[in-house]
Symmetry: C2
Amino acid sequence: MIEVNGINIGEKFNSFSEYWTPKIVGELNGQFVKLAKLKGEFVWHNHKEEDELFYVYKGQLQIKLKDKIVNIDQGEFFIIPKGVGHSPYAENECHVILFEPKATAHTGNVEHELTVKNQEWI
Amino acid sequence: MIEVNGINIGEKFNSFSEYWTPKIVGELNGQFVKLAKLKGEFVWHNHKEEDELFYVYKGQLQIKLKDKIVNIDQGEFFIIPKGVGHSPYAENECHVILFEPKATAHTGNVEHELTVKNQEWI
């Protein structure tokens, strides 16, 4: 019987270094699983039709919403409902796993210098 | 400004002890995020229309497919495509995060004594 291994998240994170450029590592049911390294503040945006999950694999992430601040520590997650404006902020380098529909652009409704048009598989 | 915290996966795992009873911890885009504790061998089944992601949060999981065995260590994940028969097996207690459509029954096409009809939120 052939034996294969799962996809190692840590190894995938080691394979790239750029910030704010989500990489695709899995696809299921019309959704992508993505990894991203974050540092500093991202552009304020929303996703009109898509909920977005942030799971902090390493480090700490803060997500600023209109009326509150969400502090997400390592091993925690938070779901931003569709249409809700948000701005991720990481004081130090932070590694996150994202779950979101394939159609989701990471800068949502905003065209920005940080916008990556063609997100790549790793 | 109000500050709130992310949802802590470790604390959620500490809140239940049963094996093979996935608990819902999040919902987005018609999908559920679930946590499950596994030990021993599960019933062979498939999900006709739904891909299913297993992420091993703690421990080790083996998933038997028809033609291969998938070894998923802590920090690794694997996606079982729809229609593919599979049987999870954990020699020792294993904690997994599942990502799958809301409609997914954990025993798939099989009605079994382990089938949990109404999966609960924690």
